[in-house]
Amino acid sequence: MSSATLYSVSYFLVNYVLTHIGSVLPAPLNAWITNGDLVTGLAVLVFGAILLGASMINTIVLIWWERKLLGRFMDRRGAMHVGYAGLLQNFADGFKLFRKNTFRPREADWLGFFSGPTAYLVTSFVIFGILPISSGWNSGVLPLSLLLALAIFSFAPLFIFVSAWSSNNKYSLMGGMRSAAQMIAYEVPLLLAVVAVVIVSGSFDLTTIVYEQQNYWFWGPLFLALVVFVAGMLAEMERIPFDLPEAEAELVEGWNTEYGGMLFAFFMLADYLRALVGSILVVLLFLGGWTMPTWVPSAATSFPLAGIFWFMVKTYLVFGLFVWIRASLPRVRTDQLLRVGWNRMIPLSLCAVFLAAALVLAKCVWPFGCLPSMGV
């Protein structure tokens, strides 16, 4: 199965189903239904559906994972009644939100109020189409997939601001302003940290970046970049300690104060989708993606779907780190956050870039080893 890709699997599925349906149909219909274009088109649809479903389920399980971890950090249990160990609790919550009435404040702007959360959710979903999750399990070869992912990722402040402004609430507006300021401030160090990785790996393609890490994972030599990247990701994901846009203590719920029902669920889902994307990016850029170090026994890496398995394990562990940070740190203040962003993070990320350049020039660095030949 290791050679199978997500697309080949969905193509096989569609082809199999359509051939069997066509075999019982009369000839002209049979020819039409098994024609290559239709199969390809349906395969793409199935591909999208699988992606959507997988990312959705992963997101919801991620929420469960956070609740359970946070519970233990706080000396309690987390969700535990619906399903085994509360696994179905979030599905139940989602269903409840789905059934709730969605209403709009009278003075709110109709278009922005409804399009904001929708666009926020959709753009967060789209990124999953780009991210590779194992060798071959991607949407084909996109040479600039990293850049594209980050570009879509940074759409968010726009939509947040639109929905905050259009909901015509002072708290929402303040939250939206904070969110825009924060995301723009942390976009720069985030991208600079990525530049460090790109310099070392010599490619914007995520698959290439992962294969560049076959000798050593980048988190060791590029530790500075990792720190900057994680901090920037925390700010982008709006998680504690950088969750001031929705600082519930003073701003009620920040930019989603006026949202209820499914629209709120959109925000919630999109937040966790972004958290998932953040964790995945950390794994891809710094933790070797789906590959494992060579000293790991091959039995642990050669079973079917081993790549996806290890990838998910790493992703959830990285998210566990975010949860740990959330469990132990209070929220910072806007001015402090921005000051740290512009005054500390950008110089740090520039340092990281220089370090990366030095790493490339040196080729081999002592405890880690050498870069693969593909390097610049």
Binding site: M74, K170, P241, A249, E250, V252, V332
Partner: protein
């Protein structure tokens, strides 16, 4: 731009409204609006018997019920010329000190949660539960105790209480180290709280601010020491003082007060172990006993001509200096009951410690005031 923080707002911890005028994120003006929880406790008290008012006292400040019971009982004993047995006084002081720990733990939980940190909230609530367990073991309720009576307390400690209490105290004093590590040991916490909500001692005195807020400004005023009531003169403790006059200072003062409370309770437990005795004054007027039957058209009390009196009591409640003024006109109901709530005065000075800070600073500052709306509105 004026924004209303409240009456339903995560910052308020109760029902009140803080109207804030802001420019961007900076606070230009503020105006607290109270009264959303006004239940007319002073008025209802006028229609109740002396002991029945105790049921209202638990609900005056729902996180410091024992302190308010003690306050009211001290004043009405003065007004009614009744002297409680010594053991009852020790038990009351123990209740008050345990309540101080419970209230401060509740404060700790809510305050750190305002900073966005959820973990200490659960630690604080978990450890407060220990205190509530102890309360329940002798008073029979976890928050609304109805335990103190004019002339003593309702019942004595159950057997084995002091061993359990000591174990709980050991557990609690270990936990305080953990609390400090979580808060003071965190750079972000210090950045958020140092130099925030400064209210200098002179301003505190002018605006009537008392309690941990005053002591965090370096002023060593504590009713327990300055005007000792009940059995406090026999107890050895220190008054916690900090010098920052800011949020961190208030945090430090409250943490130190909890340690001192543990010290006081240990002394009281030693005393209680060696001095058995009655806990209720033995000869009480009929209408102060629990089985009181108001009867007939004749006003029995006026017939007996019970001596009139006025009582003023003042205690160091967890939030500050609380006072009660009870007027006894010789009837079975108090003629007038008036309370001074420390939080009432502390909130009224809001303008002095909020203006000039940022919107994000409101939750920690108001959290450090430890607002309990129940006792402000009464």
């Amino acid at each position: 731009m004026w924004i209303n923080m409240g009456p339903q707002h995560p910052m308020t911890h109760g029902l009140w409204n803080l109207r804030v005028k802001i420019d961007g994120e900076v606070i230009l003006d503020c105006d607290p609006e109270m009264g959303y929880l006004h239940r007319g406790i002073e008025k209802i008290s006028e229609d109740r018997h002396y002991n029945e008012v105790v049921t209202l006292m638990d609900r005056t400040c729902y996180v410091a019920g024992f302190a308010w019971e003690h306050l009211y009982i001290l004043a009405s004993e003065d007004a009614l010329h009744i002297v409680p047995p010594e053991r009852a006084e020790y038990i009351r002081v123990m209740c008050e000190e345990f309540q101080r720990i419970g209230s401060h733990l509740m404060w700790y939980a809510a305050f750190v949660q305002d900073l966005g940190l959820m973990t200490p909230f659960l630690y604080g609530m978990r450890d407060r539960d220990i205190v509530l367990d102890l309360f329940q073991s002798y008073s029979g309720a976890r928050m609304t105790y109805e335990y103190m009576r004019v002339g003593g307390v309702r019942n004595d400690m159950p057997p084995g209480f002091s061993a359990h209490a000591r174990r709980a105290l050991d557990w609690l004093s270990d936990r305080f180290v953990e609390y400090d590590r979580l808060c003071l040991g965190s750079e972000i916490f210090r950045k958020r709280c140092d130099g925030l909500g400064v209210l200098k001692a002179s301003d505190c005195v002018a605006t009537g601010v008392t309690g941990p807020m005053l002591r965090s400004a370096g002023m060593r005023r504590d009713v327990r020491r300055d005007r000792p009531y009940s059995v406090y003169p026999q107890l050895d403790f220190e008054v916690a003082v900090a010098d920052g006059a800011d949020v961190t200072g208030r945090y430090l003062v409250r943490m130190e007060e909890m340690r001192q409370s543990i010290r006081i309770i240990r002394q009281i437990l030693d005393w209680l172990d060696h001095h058995p005795g009655p806990v209720l004054a033995d000869r009480l007027p009929r209408w102060l006993g629990a089985p009181y039957a108001p009867v007939g058209k004749e006003d029995y009390v006026l017939k007996r001509n019970y001596p009139k009196g006025v009582g003023l009591s003042s205690i160091e409640e967890p939030h500050g200096e609380a006072q009660a003024y009870v007027v006894n006109e010789g009837s079975e109901h108090p003629y007038r009951v008036k309370f001074r709530s420390p939080v009432f005065a502390n909130i009224s000075a809001a303008r002095h410690y909020l203006i000039g800070y940022r919107v994000a600073d409101i939750p920690p500052i108001m959290g450090s005031v430890d607002v309990c709306v129940g006792e402000v509105d009464r």
